[in-house]
Point group: C2
Chain length 117, copies 2
């Protein structure tokens, strides 16, 4: 489902080199849209910066004044686009970021010399 976008990015040139195809744009837009919410951005930040590179849902929930289902919803969105993975250990579920995914986006937005002047 998202694999194609991932594929495209891994060997793809940055944004400016050639116009994005519609399919690639759809896949990428989903990932950016997932980051396009303040709560989700903070979640990624919290998880990425947490001890051991992982955080359990309770850690995240405590950082917001939002209902637990809301946090769960946001986690699902981030997981669906491949930005987070989850692993259950005992009663707790631990989330961690997918560094490759962030790296792809970072590379895509890296400004090539032609444009940067």
């Amino acid at each position: 489902m998202l694999m194609d976008a991932l594929q495209v990015l891994e060997c793809g040139p940055p944004l400016a080199r050639r116009p994005l195809g519609e399919g690639q744009a759809v896949g990428l837009a989903r990932v950016f849209k997932a980051l396009g919410d303040p709560v989700r951005l903070r979640i990624v930040s919290i998880v990425a910066g947490h001890q051991g590179g992982e955080a359990c849902v309770c850690d995240i929930t405590d950082a917001f004044e939002l209902a637990q289902p809301t946090i769960s919803h946001h986690l699902k969105v981030l997981k669906d686009v491949g930005l987070l993975t989850s692993e259950r250990r005992a009663s707790w579920v631990y989330y961690r970021v997918v560094p490759e995914r962030l790296a792809e986006l970072s590379a895509l937005l890296a400004v090539p010399a032609e444009v940067a002047g």
Copy 2:
């Protein structure tokens, strides 16, 4: 309005170093949300990759099968978050990307060693 997010990013560490504050997250989320649409993503790509680093609205409109007001709307969104600038020359309006803005996002998503393992 968006200057604060810009400010924050310019000297800020990447996502994982410390949890994003709510205000920063709101500003950044707006930019990511602007990129969270396939049409807008392609627009940025087209403008960035266009001859001379700029494209007029007609160039962009021709690349889609969307009504002109729709393209105009997307351009406004991208401009409002600081990803594009526009300049009127004669009858045409030319848009260009703001490289610093892309660079900020790219840097923010760059994966630090702790997380990349």
